[in-house]
């Protein structure tokens, strides 16, 4: 298993996702002789998992069953241990496209946080690109290094524990793209510019508050960035379900009662029916805001 390369079958040391049903899942590290508790009973790694294919159905000790899934960055985002607020796949997809990431891209990121975006970046820039990620919180930086090793992507990433606003990314003129998710991104724009390739590149800053965006846009303009563009993306997931609507009963004109059976309306009195159909129902609540994404281009001139 590696987050950047699909490998069969399930092996000792892999990180896999145990899927219990409808958004309920968790990650597990496969260990020879290890076992995992689920609400459906125990899963024994050696007999139930190792050697099986990803996507297999595994019956637990109590008779219930689960699916074992290959870990993608998106599944990881849904299941990773939170050390900070994390970026979700809707924002990540936009960041990836708008920063023009692809195999071979060199990317600088700060902060690493819980590594949600980092995993997605590494997946996209592999096998020839690289991620330089900076995290000012020491404990988090160490945990991230550990996770990257566990997920077999450590050759594609370098984690540094420092303050990007003070000391930058520790690299100069090598990045195609820079991503900032820090409280005061405007203080890091100079460092971002320095990290980008001489011939130019793209930068993105994620901020929850509009005031942060305003200061960042000002700093981007002052540093000569162009194509400055702020956007927001929201996800609405529809709940697909069967709907039953009662059909109103309008009664029957008195004189026609039980006389004219095959009338055009065919609505016998006191027999209200029900209309059935499938529908996508909008959720009562959804995520209303994660943050503003500000993108800009550094040109050669």
């Amino acid at each position: 298993m590696s987050f950047v390369e699909y490998r069969e079958p399930i092996q000792d040391g892999d990180t896999a996702i145990v899927f219990l049903g409808h958004d309920s899942m968790f990650p597990v590290t496969i260990k020879q002789g290890g076992q995992t508790q689920t609400k459906y009973g125990v899963i024994r790694h050696s007999t139930d998992l190792i050697g099986k294919k990803y996507g297999s159905k595994v019956t637990c000790s109590k008779g219930g069953w689960v699916y074992i899934l290959y870990p993608t960055p998106e599944l990881w985002t849904m299941n990773l241990p939170h050390r900070t607020q994390i970026l979700y796949s809707t924002d990540i997809s936009m960041i990836t496209m708008m920063l023009e990431l692809k195999p071979g891209s060199v990317v600088c990121e700060s902060g690493t946080g819980s590594g949600s975006l980092s995993h997605a970046i590494i997946r996209t820039v592999a096998p020839t690109g690289h991620l330089y990620t900076v995290e000012f919180h020491q404990q988090r930086a160490e945990k991230a290094i550990e996770e990257f090793q566990q997920h077999k992507v450590d050759h594609l990433v370098r984690v540094k524990n420092q303050d990007v606003c003070k000391t930058g990314f520790g690299v100069s003129h090598i990045a195609d793209a820079v991503f900032l998710d820090i409280p005061s991104p405007w203080e890091a724009i100079g460092h971002a510019k320095d990290a980008l390739k001489i011939e130019g590149g793209r930068v993105c800053s994620f901020s929850p508050c509009i005031e942060q965006v305003q200061r960042t846009c000002l700093a981007l303009t002052e540093h000569g960035f162009t194509e400055i563009n702020t956007l927001e993306i929201l996800l609405r997931v529809y709940d697909v379900r069967g709907i039953n609507l009662p059909v109103p009963d309008f009664g029957t004109p008195a004189e026609e009662k039980s006389s004219d059976a095959d009338k055009s309306k065919q609505l016998p009195a006191s027999q209200p029916g029900t209309a059935h159909f499938k529908s996508g129902v909008s959720p009562r609540e959804m995520v209303g805001h994660t943050g503003y994404l500000t993108f800009a281009t550094k040109s050669l001139f």
């Binding site: 000012f136 929201l234 709907i243 009664g251 029957t252 055009s264 006191s270 805001h289």
Partner: protein
């Protein structure tokens, strides 16, 4: 009268209510102005509270949260300590202050995180309520927040649009058909201020007005309110309607036959005929899996008077009262029938069903287009975003409503061949006017 805690409001009509699992005694509130804020004491009594603006603002804050190690040990007060404080009758505000002082990480948190912490703790330990006057705004927001299922998830902005697009105002003649616990009916009545007339069309055994009665309308408003059963619409149209047949006898037969329900999607059709011919109508269609349990609670039309008179009557008096009400009811029904028959179908009015799901309105749209007599039909949805506006911390609220229902509305006009008469045969599906079809295609 109303209890208000953020948007969490609930009704009371006695001096003792249960709210958020706590008994509250309202004696101290009587005689106070609407809008007064109270703190709930340990015993459940109310104590007037001065509105404090931005109390307990954090003074010292870390620049970021890099030094915070989350080990679950940052709060030195134990659960037992807090319970002890509560039992001593210490007020919520003081408990929150003590929590802050006993947090080892509070000072290292960013201002933003401090704010969040205080807000969370305040909500948990401080029990403030305000008593406010009921209004469409208050009731619509309350129902949407606390009991959305009862009002078919009709969001308050969607309701607001129905009232405005429907041109509801003093002197209007409105038909309301809804399954929103009477919220829509109440809001229509508020906008009419006792002028004009409202006919509530109801399915089942009686009109539902649980929310309507919460508006606290003066008695006079109810004189402009009529009700008419959906099940008599066909007979009204065919001219065989008689208000003198026993209401209850009919109801029994309805309930007896309910086991043998057929399910035929085609049957929805007549619903639209009604809307059209009885315009101006404001209609909220029943939605998701609504089996209309409210319809089972037989609503009292004259419930207002009931509160004052009904207490000490003996059995005979009750029976007489019942008879009187039944007669009253039949009389009102007959009046409603006359109003319905005199209604002018054409002109300015708008119709707009609201539905939480899309498909029924799509069908409605198509049927109305085919039938004609309605122009500028629109099928729409609104997005509502609430904002947090605070110095250096402004952004849209982190949670938003995913949907407030879809709306279909248009303007009724003269139909081509049929006369603007409620008794015209609606079974003849007429082709839509040619020109209109062209306009539609152009779009």
């Amino acid at each position: 009268m109303w209890l208000w805690q953020s948007y969490n409001v609930c009704i009371f009509s006695s001096r003792k209510v249960i709210f958020e699992k706590q008994w509250i005694y309202l004696d101290n509130a009587i005689g106070k102005h609407y809008g007064t804020t109270f703190e709930i004491t340990a015993g459940g009594n109310l104590q007037t509270k001065k509105n404090e603006i931005a109390a307990a603002e954090p003074k010292e804050a870390g620049a970021d949260n890099r030094n915070i190690v989350d080990d679950g040990k940052s709060q030195k007060l134990t659960r037992d300590d807090i319970e002890a404080l509560k039992e001593k009758g210490i007020k919520g505000q003081e408990i929150v202050q003590q929590l802050i002082e006993n947090s080892t990480t509070f000072r290292d948190k960013t201002e933003f995180a401090q704010e969040k912490y205080i807000k969370k703790k305040k909500k948990k330990y401080e029990a403030n309520i305000s008593i406010v006057k009921p209004s469409t705004r208050i009731l619509a927001m309350m129902y949407y927040a606390r009991e959305p299922g009862k009002i078919c998830q009709l969001r308050y902005d969607t309701l607001a649009q129905m009232l405005t697009l429907g041109n509801i105002h003093a002197g209007s003649q409105v038909i309301v058909m809804e399954t929103c616990a009477g919220l829509l009916l109440g809001s229509v009545m508020e906008r009419m201020g006792g002028y004009g007339s409202v006919i509530q069309m109801y399915p089942g055994t009686g009109p539902v007005r649980a929310a309507t009665d919460c508006f606290g309308f003066p008695k006079s408003f109810y004189k402009t309110l009529y009700e008419f059963p959906l099940s008599k619409v066909e007979s009204l149209i065919s001219g065989t309607f008689s208000a003198h047949r026993s209401v209850h006898a009919e109801q029994d037969s309805v309930q007896g036959d309910e086991e043998s329900n057929g399910s035929n999607a085609e049957k929805q059709e007549p619903a639209q005929d009604i809307e059209e011919d009885s315009s101006p109508a404001t209609e909220a269609e029943s939605t998701v899996n609504s089996n209309q349990p409210e319809n089972q609670e037989e609503m009292e039309v004259t419930g207002e008077e009931n509160n004052e008179k009904g207490q000490n009557l003996e059995k005979k008096q009750i029976a007489m009262e019942k008879k009187r009400k039944q007669d009253e009811r039949r009389k009102r029904e007959a009046e409603a029938a006359v109003l319905l028959q005199n209604k002018n179908a054409d002109g300015h009015p708008l119709i707009h069903p609201m539905c939480l799901v899309f498909q029924p309105l799509l069908e409605c749209y198509t049927k109305l287009r085919e039938r004609g007599g309605v122009i500028n039909l629109k099928l729409s949805e609104t997005w509502l975003r609430n904002y947090q506006v605070l110095p250096d911390r402004s952004h849209p609220k982190l949670v938003m409503s995913g949907g407030g229902g879809y709306l279909l509305y248009g303007i009724t006009v003269a139909r081509e061949t049929a006369k603007p008469n409620i008794r015209c045969p609606e079974k003849t599906e007429e082709p839509a006017p040619k020109k209109l079809k062209v306009a539609e295609l152009e779009s």
